[in-house]
Amino acid sequence: MPVALPDATEDELRAIIARHADLEGALLPILHELQETYGHIPAASAPLICAALNISKAELHGVISFYHDFRDAPAGRHVLKLCRAEACKAVGADALAEALLRKLGIDWHGTTGDGAVTIEPVYCLGLCACGPAAMLDEQVVGRADAEKLDRLLAGAGA
């Protein structure tokens, strides 16, 4: 996740959309690149996507809201995903997450007051033999404990 996200200009939005518009099933690739670039799906992109792919605004909204990955507003500067699924629960993921959320004073999906980090639940990262698992942006973390998470968050400026 880039630290300072650029503001979207219409030309840039058009360029991103055009890069994928000819693919079969272009919508998800477009949404992914928008989100990677701006940290969310900018509202200004909606009419451009609808025109490029010949879909209605309702359809577009339906898709964006269906998938957990897409957001319509930016997250914190970093996103920490904590696994809540069974294999991680078997090694104490619940207690770990509860303690961290309490300490940060936020709930799931919440962002720390300084905007440094958003905590998201995730259901399995494929690290189920070394749980509890976490992922800070795209950095994977195994056998997470309070101390490891503190160090990660400190590194992320939270």
Binding site: L28, K89, Y123, G126, L127, V140
Partner: protein, 505 residues
């Protein structure tokens, strides 16, 4: 000196990058030439980060490593594990699908070929489409994604279907908790998946493949994307497969964090750029799949197993296993377990043998309470069911399912009512919303379990009814199978639901 170090996500999550940096720094400081090769993982996660050193007399394993171990590693004074093949967890396996994983540089096609890669495809290129499909059918391979449907029969339907365009879609959504075989093979031996998809294309007459890969796996996405580029550059993909075959190409598509998109029709909708809502069947995806065209949808492990079937022959593959479960099962041992990781073996081993002997029981050292087999929709199997042999029919008979073959081990501190509640909560969060028993039923399920937790014994009957409704009234296995973990927890651990054993049965 050559050092092989795992680059699998699990190794990275356990600080393999710090070990890699320490090896480079220490070698530079000593002025010695060290060739550091990054590999996939052998799957012994409790030994990660695992490295092997070859000083000219073969590879010797060391692990789990920390950066502080590196000086002794280079001195030759660090106690080691011996050759990987001699480690008991590894020695007991039959590695067919995972034969190269951990051994080779995942992005070296030369390594891949030197270890048997492309031999299967070369054989398939000399066969007719019906012969290719017949080879898969006679191997007995069944879908490893969950449902266990015979792969050859699916391919034959697509082969016979009329269509100007056909597709091979690889299901790499691997959403089940306790599973990571797809991730490991994509990170550790991506060309085996590519080769399997090419053979599938030859068999059914498709020239386009998609890999729908979950966004939670950034490392696997990076490796697969690079592998496809390399395969194109080498002519394995493109206008003429290996210079002589028909055309075939592959695109990697990223999922967007929806568990239900692992269900094949939901996945197809997602690939088409729509909401990942489940489609009613018929029509079968084999006849009207992606963009309405005949489509093979197969799991990563199903497809990545195809090359070895062609390399060694269907009869060799089918010689492993029991009953109608032929070949190998790529078990993923996870959760509260002493020795967790990937264990590939012929079908037929008893569940208890895997959990107690191979995995060494729990990591906490406390007694095992239950094992959830087959992901979040799989049953909790108590110790009393540990004699069940690993086979599709055998597990079905025990009220469970093999699914994608994940085993999640829990010790005696596990809160089974809490796990049942979580199963309902997960279903509510991930429901595609199409059927009421799933969408609404799961929310009611959470409420009902909360009532039971608060001491309302009468709510247990309600839970039974609710589960029956979900089972009968759901279009797909998300709503239809969520009752498995819930009811198995209730049946085997009734005291935790405020019931006596007799009342629960």
């Amino acid at each position: 000196m050559k050092i092989y170090l795992s680059q699998d996500s699990a190794a990275k999550a356990l600080c393999a990058e710090d070990v890699a940096a320490a090896i480079r720094a220490e070698a530079a400081a000593r002025g010695i030439a060290v060739e550091l090769v990054r590999t996939g993982s052998y799957g012994m996660v409790w030994l990660e980060p695992l490295a092997e050193i070859d000083r000219g007399a073969g590879r010797e394993a060391f692990g789990p490593l920390t950066p502080e171990d590196v000086p002794a590693l280079l001195d030759g004074t660090l106690p080691g594990l011996g050759p990987v093949a001699e480690i008991p967890f590894f020695k007991r396996q039959t590695r067919l699908t995972f034969a190269r994983c951990g051994v080779i540089d995942p992005l070296s096609l030369d390594d891949y070929e030197a270890h048997g890669g492309l031999a299967g495809l070369r054989r398939a290129l000399d066969m007719s489409a019906p012969e290719i499909v017949a080879e898969v059918t006679s191997s007995g391979l069944r879908g490893r994604g969950g449902a266990g449907f015979p792969t050859g029969i699916k391919w034959d339907t697509v082969r016979k279907a009329q269509g100007d365009q056909k597709y091979i879609v690889c299901n790499a959504d691997e959403g089940d908790s306790g599973t990571f075989a797809d991730r490991m093979i994509m990170e550790g031996d991506p060309f085996s998946l590519i080769e399997g998809m090419v053979i599938a294309g030859l068999g059914v007459g498709a020239d386009k493949g998609y890999v729908y890969l979950r966004s939670e796996y950034p490392d696997a996405i990076a490796v697969m994307t690079r592998a496809v580029e390399l395969a194109r550059a080498a002519g394995l993909l493109g206008r003429a497969v290996l210079g002589c075959g028909p055309s075939f190409d592959i695109e990697i598509r990223k999922g967007a964090g929806a568990y239900v998109c692992g269900e094949e029709t939901s996945l197809l909708n997602s690939l088409e750029g729509k909401r990942g809502v489940v489609r009613a069947k018929p029509p079968l995806p084999a006849l009207e799949g992606l963009f309405g065209k005949p489509t093979v949808v197969n799991n990563v492990i199903s497809l990545a197993t195809v090359p070895v079937i062609f390399e060694r022959g269907a009869a060799h593959y089918a010689s492993f296993g029991i009953g109608r479960s032929r070949g190998t099962v790529t078990l993923q041992i996870a959760g509260n377990v002493a020795r967790g990781g990937l264990f590939e073996t012929g079908f037929g081993m008893r569940l208890g043998e895997v959990v107690e002997e191979i995995a060494g029981g729990t990591a906490s050292g406390r007694p095992v309470k239950a094992v959830q087999v087959g992901g979040p929709l799989g049953a909790y199997m108590p110790v009393s069911q540990f004699d069940t042999p690993l086979g599709y029919e055998e597990f079905d008979g025990a009220g469970g399912l093999i699914g994608h073959a994940g085993l999640v081990v829990f010790d005696d501190s596990a809160d089974m009512l809490g796990m049942a509640r979580f199963a309902m909560e997960f279903c509510a969060v991930e429901s595609c919303g199409k059927c009421t028993p799933c969408r609404i039923g799961a929310v009611r399920g959470v409420e009902t379990l909360d009532r039971i937790a608060a001491g309302d014994g009468a709510a247990v009957a309600l839970l039974h009814d609710l589960c029956a409704t979900m089972k009968d009234g759901s279009l797909c296995a998300l709503g239809g199978f969520t009752p498995y973990p819930v009811m198995s927890a209730l049946t085997h651990f009734p005291q935790e639901f405020g019931q006596s054993r007799e009342a629960a049965e």
